[in-house]
Amino acid sequence: MAKKKAKKPTPAQQARKAKLTAKDKKTLNSLVGMADGVVRQASRGRAPYFEVPSRSLSNVKYSPTKKIIEMGSSKNKRELFNLSQARTYMQTLLVGRGCKELIEQGKTTSIRGLYYLLKHTIDGTREETFNDQGDCDPVIEDVEVTLNALREELHVYASNRGAMVGNIQLIDSGDEIDCSRMGSGGYAIPSIVEEEVMQFVKCDADFILHVEKDTVWRRFNEDKFWKQHNCILTHGNGQPPRGVRRLLSRMHNELGLPIYCLLDNDPWGYYIYSVIKQGSINLAYESRRMAIPGAKFIGLRSRDYELCELNPSVTIKLSDNDIKRANQIAKYPWFEKKKRWQKEIKKMLSNGFKLEVEALISKDISYVTQEYVPERLAEANFLD
């Protein structure tokens, strides 16, 4: 520990310090402020603590006017001299120190990288500062909300997940990318897609079709659906990561593209849609930047089983957990007042089974791209 510290101010690092942007300076200031607070409390003989905004369902509010989930004002105390919090308290400060190091050196790292940067054995014990990445990730989110700084402002990013293809050209870290010429794999959506990193050059697409996962996305890409219907095709590999959500939100707001979601007919799919549209409970503080209140839900709908005359063997029985989750979702304030959604969820529960988008393949391999989605788009019959 002590040695590490001694090594730090090398000339190279000193030089980099000069390149701080205004945003970096602001973040650094709040990091230092966090430490100052500890010194102030300790020198007065008080037990030091942070106030971390609470990230639970009880502290999020659905704003009917903005149609997004916002974080409330309730805060949790995180005390050093509390048996169950002492460790997380220490970890919070470690994450703060790690971010400061990153910002000063002008580098970014993945959350896994930060975990390794901070992981070491505590002096005089056999205990590790972090046992695994799961130990570290929530602490990073805590630091984000505490400092009111975004993850990219802390120079940390998540792993890439999700892909995009379609009639759009953009610049990513200085490289020009044509998303209509990305082959079968598509353009991997990076974790940080802010203005400074990514700029849109040209867009001819009419709308965005977001699908739940890779397998369905490949079907659409292989059938060149985006060429025929002149759209952008994205997927988020299940629950879309922040990069994907932020990109969708930017394209929707800056390029004025409508967004349609093709997700599974199960509680999980409903919740993915809810996250894209209103924001998530866990990251409620980011809803402003990420939520897309205008997003629409194409399918799969519970009624599609009869409508498309699907084979009974493609259904999956609802588990107890699914039923519980569905009832929970139905009670969320942003679903509660939507009669069509209530009907939809009720229909799924009375069906007693869920349907994956892949179930449509049982009709025909390209049924979903050639008939199902085009028909729904033509009808313009979406769930909102």
């Binding site: 510290k5 430490a35 300790a42 030091p48 001299f81 400060l93 005089g124």
Partner: protein
């Protein structure tokens, strides 16, 4: 066929069915022999009001033959009674009375003599001395299995009279008769003159030669004598084992247990057959006289009510009571309300002496004892006592490096495993194996050839290997101060222990099993008539009343154990809390100093100061039930040994007697 039928004598029956009396195998035969003799000796001494001093000597004569001698300082036996007591089965003073005593039937010692005769052909030798001035009697006896009568072998059927004093001692020496004439001289410091030897004034010595097998461990003579010492703190035992080691269990009190009173049977405890016999035995008088004089708690008023219930005249003569009427009387007794028998006929060990006895023999950190008030089953009064010792198994864990080296130097054990098992209390084979495995020692490693670094490694392993893990609770069972060593699973005591929920007292326990942990529980059932499941007196029968009392007693000691364990947990928690904070303070101070460039040490000092204050406040907080933790909560009869790392073991080493090892 009819011509072949004839009566069977008691002796013949038991000669064929010797397992009924506890002579199933050579190993158990040795124990039973010692046990019967010691029990008789203790009963005799206590009845005569003499502080018992007992010598047990076992020597090997042939590969599978042992000579067993037991001598006491009791009152001795009248000359004409000797042959009957030792040479006739079912002869004794204890069967026909209701009084708390160790022996009950009068089978034991004569059966041992018979067993010796059957297996080795050697007679039973008895020396009995009534007082210091009078001559002692010496008999060599055999039992005639056909007639169940004694045969005197020596001196043409007359026995030998040995004069008192020096002359007699010379005769005994010449004739090779064993007798402990003096009490052992207590050890004194070097500059003091040893006191004059004190002559044994009276006593009985019985010597038998039997086919047997000597083995330590569970169900051994050693275990029996040790358990006896726990439950009889007023007894001094000198035990010379076949390997020539002398074990001495000194008495921890001079106070004899109060004399138990003899009582008449209670009507509820009498069966129909016994009632009929008693009626026959009564030669004259009325039925009312019979009832009031033969039973306890039957007043003339009660007798009248019994007679009314049976539709028998109160003045009818006992001789005229028919079998039918007897049956009616029996039924009427069951329906009549009769006061429970008086319970002052039972002499419990007492909580204080239980603690003393247990502490003297069993190592531990926490001791608790409870004596239940007397109760009644089937008209027989009984009383339950429970005691519990916890911990004390870490002698191996507490030993210092220097002491360990000394121990290794002194040991004569051939392998390291043996050394561990023989030297440290409560360290069993499993635990020794665990230590050996953890230290990667070879199975035949000799302790004397250990190098310095190996000793270091051994020391480390002994400290760190958890030896008390998975060890089951040990249940020490007693009936009228006599240890019960066999048929553990059949016994009402073990069953009750297993049925209890020990988890609520802080021990781990899997469903209806013995709980695990370094715990020893002792249960004593005292009664005028202890209900055994068989003649060999190995397990107590399952009477609901008895089981209930045992449960209540165990709950009392269990609750206190729970308190002790909870409190210990609490102390541990407080220590942990302080530790946790201290552990993280360095990291926190470093991170803060990296973030804002302030002085690390200064922050660290500030934080430590706050930590001290905060944990101090937390320490004085209330325990988990909201009570302030104070020492008084335990109540009476609890003994807590403070953790003193060295003392326990050194004390043991300095004793002149060999180290005590319980099981």
């Amino acid at each position: 066929m009819a011509a072949k039928q004839r009566s069977i004598s008691v002796s013949e029956f038991f000669a064929k069915n010797r397992h009924l009396l506890g002579f199933d195998n050579p190993r158990k035969a040795l124990l039973t022999t010692v046990k019967e003799a010691v029990d008789n000796s203790l009963d005799a001494c206590e009845e005569a009001g003499i502080g018992p001093e007992i010598w047990v000597t076992i020597t090997q004569t042939e590969p599978d033959r042992y000579k067993v001698s037991i001598q006491d300082n009791g009152p001795g036996i009248l000359k004409r009674q000797i042959p009957l007591i030792f040479g006739k089965l079912l002869y004794g003073s204890k069967f026909h009375r209701l009084r708390m005593s160790r022996g009950q039937q009068g089978i034991g010692i004569s059966a041992a003599g018979m067993y010796g005769m059957l297996t080795t052909g050697k007679p039973v030798k008895i020396v009995s001395k009534l007082s210091i001035r009078k001559p002692a009697h010496y008999y060599e006896l055999q039992i005639d299995t056909k007639t169940n009568n004694p045969q005197i072998l020596n001196n043409r059927g007359d026995g030998l009279d040995i004069p008192a004093g020096e002359k007699g001692r010379k005769i005994m020496e010449k004739k090779n008769i064993e007798w402990e004439a003096f009490y052992p001289i207590p050890e004194v410091g070097e500059d003091e003159t040893p006191p004059e030897p004190v002559e044994v004034r009276s006593g009985t010595r019985v010597t038998l030669e039997i086919e047997a097998k000597y083995q330590r461990g569970r169900g051994s003579v050693d275990e029996y004598l040790e358990m006896t010492a726990i439950a009889n703190p007023h007894v001094t035992l000198h035990y010379l084992d076949p390997e020539g080691t002398l074990h001495t269990y000194a008495r921890s009190t001079d106070q004899l247990p109060p004399e138990a009173k003899e009582i008449k049977p209670h009507p509820y405890g009498v069966e129909l057959g016994r009632l009929v016999t008693m009626l026959k035995e009564m030669k004259e008088g009325t039925i009312t006289q019979f009832l009031t004089s033969s039973f306890s708690r039957v007043s003339p008023a009660v007798a009248r009510r019994i007679c009314e219930g049976a539709d028998v005249s109160t003045r009818s003569s006992v001789k005229k009571i028919s079998r039918d009427e007897a049956d009616k009387i029996y039924k009427s007794i069951q329906q009549t309300k009769i006061k429970a028998p008086s319970t002052d006929c039972i002499a419990p060990i007492g909580e204080e002496l239980l603690l003393k006895g247990l502490h003297q023999v069993v190592p531990g950190e926490f001791y608790v004892a409870a004596t239940r008030p007397p109760s009644v089953y089937r008209g027989n009064p009984f009383q339950i006592e429970c005691a519990l010792a916890y911990g004390g198994h870490n002698a191996a864990q507490k030993v210092s490096r220097e002491l360990l080296e000394r121990l290794i130097d002194e040991t004569d054990a051939r392998t390291l495993r043996q050394f561990l098992m023989n030297t440290f209390d409560g360290l069993g084979a499993d635990s020794a194996d665990k230590i050996m495995k953890a230290g990667e020692f070879g199975s035949r490693q000799s302790p004397s050839k250990l190098k310095q670094d190996q000793i270091e490694r051994l020391h480390d392993c002994m400290k760190n290997v958890n030896v008390s893990d998975g060890q089951a609770m040990q249940v020490l069972r007693y009936a009228n101060r006599v240890p019960l060593q066999f048929k553990m699973r059949d016994c009402a005591i073990t069953q009750t222990v297993m049925k209890m929920n020990w988890r609520s007292y802080g021990l781990s326990q899997s469903r209806s099993n013995l709980p695990s942990g370094p715990v020893r529980v002792m249960v004593h059932v005292a009664s005028v008539w202890v209900p055994f499941t068989s003649e060999s007196k190995e397990a107590i029968a399952h009477y609901d009343e008895i089981q209930k009392e045992i449960r209540l007693g165990l709950q009392t000691v269990g609750r206190k154990l729970g308190m002790f364990l909870r409190r210990r947990q609490q102390v541990k928690k407080e220590g942990e809390r302080r530790n946790v904070f201290v552990r993280y303070l360095g990291e926190v101070a470093q991170a803060v100093s990296d973030l804002n460039g302030s002085d690390r040490d200064e922050i660290y000092n500030h934080l430590t100061r706050v930590a001290k204050r905060v944990t101090k406040e937390a320490d004085t907080k209330l325990d988990d039930r909201g009570n302030k933790v104070t020492e008084e909560n335990y109540g009476d009869n609890v003994l807590i040994i403070k953790d003193d790392p060295e003392e326990g073991l050194t004390e043991q080493l300095d004793k002149t007697t060999p180290q005590k090892k319980l099981f």
